[in-house]
Symmetry: C3
Subunit: 158 residues, 3 copies
């Protein structure tokens, strides 16, 4: 029986997403079963970087314009400095031969990490399934999260 | 034997509180026993929306004026924009027939979710028991939290 | 067999660090085995307050200048107000006879809490072992974290 790790990614910030994916990749490489639930601002991590914005209603359009998302658009939680801090962090990561968030998403998907998008926040924010990258395995609510989380010992809210 | 879920709500932000209550309500509806410990800024979530501010000392008065709290006063962690972002979020939630934080607090209390206020932060910030909504079940410190958390598998810090 | 508590301190903010150390101290005093993994901005919590900044490369120098760290330099996550809010919080803590973060670090170390610094972020940010306080017990990556976390029920991401 495999050990299970379940992560909630609530935050839409690059540094927190990197931490979550680092844990997910580590756990997957140790043979654990990993599921990541993306909710609220965390949905931004798994939104497509390209493509048109489709939302119904003026307010949703405004929200989804500001809150565009996509792994390449996430701000840092500190020292973002209108993008300068983020650019520096990206450069430091490349210098240290550290994979980018994009590469970590691909690696995690390849290692069998499951990506679940939270349908409750999708409904609230007016985000449709087409907004997400193809690596997303399923769309579900809190009940699915709780069942999964209850099977493992490592449950983190990032 | 019931499964147990224990949440620490450290953050005083509306979006994080919504996430915590969504998990709490989901777990309660699945028959799990849920306890939420409100600490630090999280105490704001369960403060009364009405009533006078009573604190001893100038500095505590200042802190409790800025950090007034109450479920209707919580900022968003992102895009708060002096209240505009929060107002938009409230409207999107109503459009999506999503309960407000106030309604979720009532629903959670009705579903048997236990609310515990952290006495350590209350002492530090000079907040008295009268500052809280009547749904708060008890006042306790970290030892109570740890005993509860140790009985379950789902333990999150929000 | 001792119960185990494993905390990830990702945040470099004073209030979150206080919450983590409060939990760690409580758990240690109840006879639990506590390990704290400091990663990303959380490395700042266990950096020395004194001493020169040594980093290779201009960008790392800039990052480590801005992101200097040390338990006395951590900002508050809310109401920092260029240091005023933090000064007020420090004063309230002393008035309430609450130990400072510095004192909590010493108390935790004395109570057997293990401090682990994340080597992955150290490499990325160009922080060397000499930057840390002597209370740090070891330097390790995510695999060590996961092994530890898997032995206990209380695992939090702060």
């Amino acid at each position: 029986m495999k050990e299970k790790v379940t992560l909630i990614v609530f935050s839409g910030e690059m540094d927190k997403a990197l931490a979550a994916f680092n844990i997910a990749l580590g756990a997957a490489s140790m043979g654990m079963e990993v599921t990541i639930f993306f909710t609220f601002w965390g949905l931004n991590v798994i939104k497509k970087n390209q493509g048109p914005l489709k939302s119904r209603g003026v307010m949703r359009k405004m929200l989804n314009f500001m809150n565009r998302g996509g792994s390449k658009r996430l701000p840092l939680s500190r020292f973002h400095m209108f993008g300068l801090g983020k650019w520096m962090m990206g450069k430091l990561m490349r210098n240290a031969k550290f994979p980018s968030l994009d590469e970590m998403i691909a690696l995690a998907h390849g290692a069998g990490v499951k990506f679940v998008a939270c349908t409750t926040t999708m409904g609230m924010m007016g985000v449709s399934k087409e907004a997400f990258i193809p690596e997303v395995d399923s769309f579900a609510g809190v009940a699915t999260y709780l069942e999964k989380a209850n099977e493992g010992k490592i449950n983190l809210f990032v």
